[in-house]
């Protein structure tokens, strides 16, 4: 398919120099000047190298996209990343997929669409999320081809409904947590954006973002309170069993903390905390909260800090003065004091 497109354009090349269609061409391709810069040499490569057209779908796309750099504005005015790192793609869990498995249909795109028809369910899903993914909603919906069950969970979650019902564009969907679909690695891999090591930061992109917190009236201290908690400290030190965000809040089917079905709602915590803390009871479960400390712990801490400073002042002044007086005695009062 791609080769075909390239051939058409190379056949058109002489015209560019002889006719005024050159200007027309430039006008149409204006946003793709950068692309043109790469295309001619790559065309030669593509023609010289014997490529197995059908089996090497992704190789064909990567022939250009692996060496393209930077972002480009589409006709619709959206910025898209041109580069696909072919090494990282080959190392990802999706390396066996062909580009067109997900990029089934192009809207707002210079390439002509692949021929295969898009399944109806993907199309309707893509319509729901089109506002979030204006460039290629079909590809964003295509995750459900393989991950259908999980995708359904996400759509009914607080994150999913924010996009499908409230039509917001800043809510989380697949890529916001997992990163580019081209480079997804297993969750056990520390490179994964949802791995234990990176999950806090990934959720924190939104849950630590002031504007988003204000917009959605989210709990405002979640990141700091986690980092200061025993869980967060131990995670930082490399503890391998300590919980991260999804351990308590769930991942794909995440719910608002005010939703009675949420694992962190009310006494649901008995079970949630009980996963690690055997025998977790109603008096224990308030131990972990993302709220700021109440007045009692707050003022106790202030009082204790005063106590520490007071004791410290006494100790330091006593030790220093005593040392000085000992030195003084040793020099000036030799033998005077027994």
């Amino acid at each position: 398919m791609f080769i075909y497109t390239l051939l058409i354009s190379i056949l058109d090349l002489p015209k560019l120099f002889v006719s005024n269609s050159y200007n027309l061409m430039i006008e149409v391709l204006m946003p793709y000047k950068k692309v043109m810069f790469f295309v001619p040499p790559l065309l030669v490569l593509a023609l010289v190298l014997p490529l197995a057209v059908s089996a090497q779908e992704s190789a064909n796309c990567l022939a250009c996209h692996s060496s393209m750099k930077g972002r480009i504005k589409t006709i619709g005015g959206n910025l898209i990343e041109l580069n696909v790192d072919s090494e990282k793609f080959q190392a990802s869990v999706h390396s066996a997929l062909a580009c067109t498995d997900c990029h089934m249909k192009f809207t707002d795109n210079p390439h002509s669409s692949p021929g295969a028809s898009v399944p109806q369910d993907i199309l309707s899903l893509s319509a729901k999320i089109a506002k979030k993914y204006p460039v290629d909603p079909v590809a964003a919906a295509a995750c459900s081809k393989c991950h259908g069950e999980i995708y359904q969970k996400v759509l009914t979650s607080v994150h999913g409904r924010n996009i499908t019902e409230k039509h917001q564009t800043d809510g989380a969907l697949c890529l916001d947590c997992h990163g580019s679909p081209h480079y997804i690695v297993p969750v056990k891999n520390p490179e994964s954006k949802v791995s234990r090591g990176q999950q806090i930061e990934t959720c924190g992109k939104c849950h630590g973002n002031k504007q988003i917190i204000e917009k959605y009236k989210l709990e405002e201290n979640v990141l700091d309170s986690f980092k200061e908690s025993f869980h967060g400290r131990k995670l930082h030190l490399g503890h391998t069993k300590v919980p991260v965000c999804a351990s308590c809040h769930n991942s794909h089917d995440i719910m608002s903390k005010n939703d009675p079905a949420s694992p962190v709602f009310g006494n649901n915590r008995l079970q949630t905390c009980g996963k690690c803390h055997k025998g977790a009871n109603e008096k224990f479960i308030p131990a972990i909260t993302h709220k700021r400390p109440g007045p009692i712990p707050h003022y106790t801490e202030k009082a204790l800090i005063l106590l520490v400073l007071g004791v410290f002042t006494f100790i330091i002044s006593h030790v220093l003065l005593e040392a000085f007086s000992d030195i003084r005695d040793a020099i000036f009062r030799k033998g005077g004091h027994e």
Partner: protein
């Protein structure tokens, strides 16, 4: 702790026993567990120290899991050591091996405050006399009672944090919303106080002071030379050897 059997022996011994073997073992248990708790707890308190220092430090102690076990075992051992000490004191009182004498007691008295003032006057050159102590100087009393304070504040909160389900039964319902936060603040802040206290107060007085450097060997021998006793604890010395005083006079 005050053995008040006033010796009437004419000959003054070279040294006398200040702490018996039980006290010495209690002290050894106390400081080994204290060091273990400080080392492992420090890494957790300052987990996000720059450049991953704390992660490295905790790896030295076998990683977070192992360090956690060390911390809990040491904490329980320290609490048991403390309970043993209190029971032992009760036993000494019950069997009259120990009685309260104002000159030898470790109980803080108004005199200690005057001693502090007296010593500060001396440090500033406003007085030619240092304070005269009984068996325990105010510095030593401070050292001793600091452990009690630490045991109640850090010990109890630590126990509650290590065995929350067990302790949750005695926590009143109205307190559950803030008690856990309070416990961890108490534990962490008072532990810092304890470490600072030991590092500056105890280490200076018992290790760094020129007369004690590198350490006072009392912790292992339990004995103090009468010479040193006379110098540092004159009131106790006079009490133990009244004859010496008379002779001197």
């Amino acid at each position: 702790m005050s053995q008040t059997n006033t010796t009437t022996a004419r000959e003054i011994p070279k040294e006398i026993e200040r702490f018996n073997v039980t006290f010495r073992i209690q002290h050894i248990l106390m400081f080994t567990t204290f060091l273990l708790l400080s080392f492992t707890g420090w890494g957790l308190k300052y987990a996000d120290a720059p450049a991953g220092v704390s992660s490295w430090w905790i790896r030295v102690w076998g990683g977070p899991e192992t360090a956690g076990i060390i911390h809990r075992v040491a904490g329980v051992t320290m609490l048991l050591d403390f309970i043993w000490h209190v029971i032992y004191l009760g036993y000494l009182f019950a069997t009259k091996q120990m009685t309260i004498n104002l000159k030898t007691t470790v109980i803080p008295l108004p005199k200690d405050i005057f001693d502090v003032i007296q010593n500060f006057l001396y440090f500033f050159g406003l007085s030619k006399e240092k304070a005269r102590f009984g068996k325990y100087s105010y510095a030593q009393k401070f050292d001793y009672w600091a452990v009690f304070w630490g045991m109640f504040i850090i010990g109890f909160s630590g126990f509650a944090l290590a065995f929350p389900m067990l302790v949750s039964h005695i926590i009143p319902r109205f307190a559950t919303a803030w008690i856990w936060e309070l416990l961890s603040i108490m534990h962490s802040d008072e532990a810092l106080l304890a470490i600072v206290f030991i590092l500056f107060w105890h280490f200076y007085n018992e290790h760094l002071k020129p007369e004690n450097f590198p350490m006072s060997w009392l912790w292992i021998t339990g004995k103090i030379s009468t010479e040193k006793l006379k110098h540092h604890h004159p009131i106790e010395y006079d009490l133990l050897f009244p004859d010496a005083k008379k002779n001197k006079d």
